[in-house]
């Protein structure tokens, strides 16, 4: 399900399946996209932040066009206890690899991987990011 912002329109509630993972996409070239994500985060129930939220930062290939500070992004990940992934959508290889990562995370968050919970996976990702 794609949305430009939260909250989701309530008229579609009855058609919507259970949400297992929310990936917030931030375009590093657009401060507007960061603001939008920050505003949308306020509408997310606290239980999602136990491993069912991640931040996906796009546009990282174009270093000259960065508008969003890396500090702001790291801070976001810290404050909301969620992992931050980076990718460049314009390159097919990276796009596919990122999609596979997200799919893996989704499987865990949906409970399809026995022995691994969203929460444990989330803390695993956070610890490896700190190194």
């Amino acid at each position: 399900h794609l949305a430009t912002s939260l909250p989701l329109p309530s008229e579609m509630d009855h058609l919507r399946p259970r949400i297992d993972l929310i990936a917030f996409m931030i375009d590093i070239k657009s401060k507007y996209s960061l603001k939008n994500v920050e505003a949308s985060l306020a509408h997310v129930d606290a239980s999602f932040f136990l491993g069912k939220v991640c931040f996906l930062v796009t546009g990282v290939g174009r270093v000259n066009y960065c508008s969003v500070e890396m500090n702001a992004i790291w801070k976001l990940g810290e404050v909301y206890c969620s992992p931050v992934l980076f990718c460049e959508l314009e390159l097919e290889g990276i796009r596919v690899a990122t999609a596979q990562r997200l799919l893996r995370m989704l499987q865990i968050c949906a409970g399809h991987i026995p022995g691994v919970s969203a929460l444990s996976f989330g803390s695993l990702m956070r610890n490896s990011a700190d190194e």
Binding site: A3, T4, Y32, N36
Partner: protein, 346 residues
């Protein structure tokens, strides 16, 4: 033939893309069809230009003919120059019948009375456009053919499009001559500049598609198909929002292509608004700041901002008013009692 004329013609030919040289020379009409057939237009441009100069030598070309070739080149490639728009005013008199011969005579007389050393050439085009080429000299030197100004006057309108050149000091002379020749009272520079002459004309003659205030009905199914991606597994949650953005965009920008501008410049002379605790500029002077937007096609990129998810819709009226107000240079001052989108014309 004068050395300088030969060199000028040679350099003008070199500017033309090779595939266009023959057509342009035919438009020029100075060399006969037989003469043109003797030129190999597939050789390198350097050699083509030398052949052309040789032929011009045979026909004893002078500066007047060379100037006409330059006008033709600039008429086909006007976007190589920066154009400003000027508007003339009459003192409420009736529009007089336009006499081209009279205009040319008065223009030349007025300009030459102020500065003897000028080369002046005219060429008329469709839609009543009169192209005027002026090469400037000084009281003591001959006109420099490489320092030219162009004025494009549409005789049925009060508008003149001027591409000045380096010698801006001659601009008042040019403006005076235009006013006198066209029987107007005065002339003012509009705050509208661009490389694209046609776009400037579109803006000033209102030839672009303007925003619609009325509801523009389009079958709902057609629109939904456009918004949904081909893959049925992707659900668009924000369909309503996207439709709203499209609708607002269409209302503001209209449906057709936008006129082509490269810049919008806003000179701010407003007070700096900061947290009172920060104690910045406690003298309370206006904070002078220049904001410049540049783009290969400014209006189209503004139009695509909201649909691309990079800005809110609707955009600030300061940006969207550009074609309607026919200006892309603004001065913004404080206004007592805030009125959104207010600015003071200079």
């Amino acid at each position: 033939m004068d050395e300088t004329v030969a060199e000028y013609i040679r350099r003008t030919v070199l500017k033309i893309p090779r595939d266009e040289i023959k057509t342009m020379l035919e438009k020029w009409g100075f060399l006969s069809e037989t003469q043109l057939q003797t030129v190999n237009f597939h050789q390198i441009k350097e050699n083509i230009s030398l052949d052309v100069v040789q032929l011009c030598e045979e026909n004893s070309a002078d500066i007047k003919q060379a100037a006409v070739l330059d006008i033709i080149y600039n008429h086909i490639y006007p976007n190589k120059r920066v154009w400003s728009v000027y508007q003339m005013n009459k003192r409420g008199e009736e529009m007089e019948f336009f006499d081209l011969t009279d205009f040319k005579k008065k223009f030349k007389r007025r300009l030459r009375s102020a500065l003897k050393n000028v080369t002046i050439n005219f060429r008329e085009y469709e839609d009543n456009a009169i192209w005027i080429r002026i090469a400037w000299g000084t009281p003591y030197t001959k006109p420099n053919q490489y320092k030219t100004s162009y004025a494009v006057y549409h005789s049925q309108t009060p508008y003149v499009f001027i591409s000045a050149s380096v010698l801006r000091s001659n601009l008042p002379l040019l403006c005076q001559a235009l006013v006198v020749a066209s029987n107007y009272h005065d002339i003012r520079e509009m705050e509208l500049r661009s490389h694209s002459l046609n776009s400037l004309k579109d803006i000033v003659f209102k030839r672009y598609s303007q925003n619609f205030q009325t509801y523009y009905p389009r079958p709902l199914q057609e629109r939904n198909v456009a918004l949904e991606s081909a893959d049925p597994r992707i659900v668009q949650e924000s369909r309503n929002e996207k439709e709203r953005i499209q609708r607002v965009n269409r209302e503001v920008f209209g449906d057709g292509p936008q006129p082509k501008l490269e810049f919008a410049q806003y000179k701010l002379e407003t007070m700096f608004k900061s947290d009172p605790k920060m104690d910045v500029l406690d003298k309370k002077e206006p904070f002078r700041c220049l904001v410049k937007f540049s783009s290969p096609h400014l209006l189209e990129s503004l139009k695509s901002l909201a649909p691309a998810g990079m800005a809110d819709a609707p955009l600030s009226p300061l940006l969207t008013c550009i074609p309607q107000k026919a200006r892309n240079y603004f001065k913004i001052r404080e206004k007592k009692g805030f009125f959104p989108g207010s600015f003071v014309s200079p």
